[in-house]
Amino acid sequence: MKQLNIELADAKTKFRPGETLEGVAFWELADAPRSIEVRLHWRTQGKGTVDLEVVTSVAFNGVGARDRRPFRITLPIGPYSVSGTLVSIVWGVELVSEPKGEAENVEITISPSGEEVRLDRMPPK
């Protein structure tokens, strides 16, 4: 088993803006972490500088080395998950423990259709 794990309810990874994301974070570490939290974030990938923003986080208090905690996050309305040839915006839900900085990430998509918006497949105007 991995040390850090995230399970999203119904294994759902495709969301619409403003929807609620639910899941369970569970971990098995050598020692109780100093802090452990779930972070909702997006980052850019592509030709230019990487941008990253943690939109919200859910911290768990009074945890043990081996523990299991549910979480619920209301997703923002944007930016959408999107990909062109120059840049992609990629959303993720990440469980991060300190002090070791261990992390586990689950990628999700946020858009009106639930699918990544493909700029490179849009018809020219």
Partner: protein, 192 residues
């Protein structure tokens, strides 16, 4: 091709670390120590100076030093006076300053910076030109270096690109960073 699938996207390129063309990291660290931890990494744009400076950081920390990282570039070519006052007021004798882009400082600013930095355990800079501090290493690029980086990024898929690499590097006058950006564009043009 989606940007996220491009093998030459910036986060993958930045993950490739500096490759010493000659000698070992131990040799380089010994040379830096012999220079009293005050030295310059000198080379043209896109030749790996910044990457090498970044790669010195964990080695200095493993050697018991703390590290302060400073950076200047053409968009941000000088420090705020308050920043420098705070830096030198809090600088410890166990700290090494890693200063990327030292050539951006005007000469008088550099002279003053260099003098004040002597309170630290060390100062390692990058610069496009020699002469600011004794040169630790001159970063150079070769087609073989670019080929090695492309091999590392692409793995088995690198073979088809190899004939193109010398021309790409020449077109960018030895600038590896720009060469890798051209390879990004090459893959971006691939449908998928």
């Amino acid at each position: 091709m989606r940007a996220r699938d491009n093998p030459f996207r910036s986060d993958r390129v930045l993950a490739v670390r500096y490759r010493l063309l000659h000698g070992t990291w131990e040799d380089l660290f010994a040379q830096l120590e012999a220079l009293g931890f005050r030295a310059a990494i000198v080379g043209p744009q896109g030749s790996g100076k910044t990457t090498l400076l970044e790669d010195l950081k964990p080695r200095l920390e493993a050697g018991g030093f703390s590290v302060r990282e400073l950076r200047l570039d053409t968009e941000s070519p000088s420090f705020e006076p308050e920043f420098l006052e705070d830096l030198f007021a809090t600088l410890g004798s166990h700290e090494v300053i890693l200063f990327d882009g030292a050539e951006q400082l005007k000469w008088a600013e550099w002279v003053r910076f260099e003098r004040r930095s002597r309170a630290a355990a060390g100062l390692v800079i990058t610069s496009h030109r020699p002469g600011l501090l004794p040169t630790l290493l001159e970063t150079t690029t070769t087609p073989e270096l670019l080929r090695g980086l492309v091999d590392q990024i692409l793995g088995d898929r690198a073979a088809e690109l190899r004939p193109l690499l010398p021309g790409i590097l020449e077109r960018h006058r030895g600038n590896v960073r720009e060469s890798l950006r051209e390879l990004y564009d090459h893959f971006a043009a691939v449908a998928g």
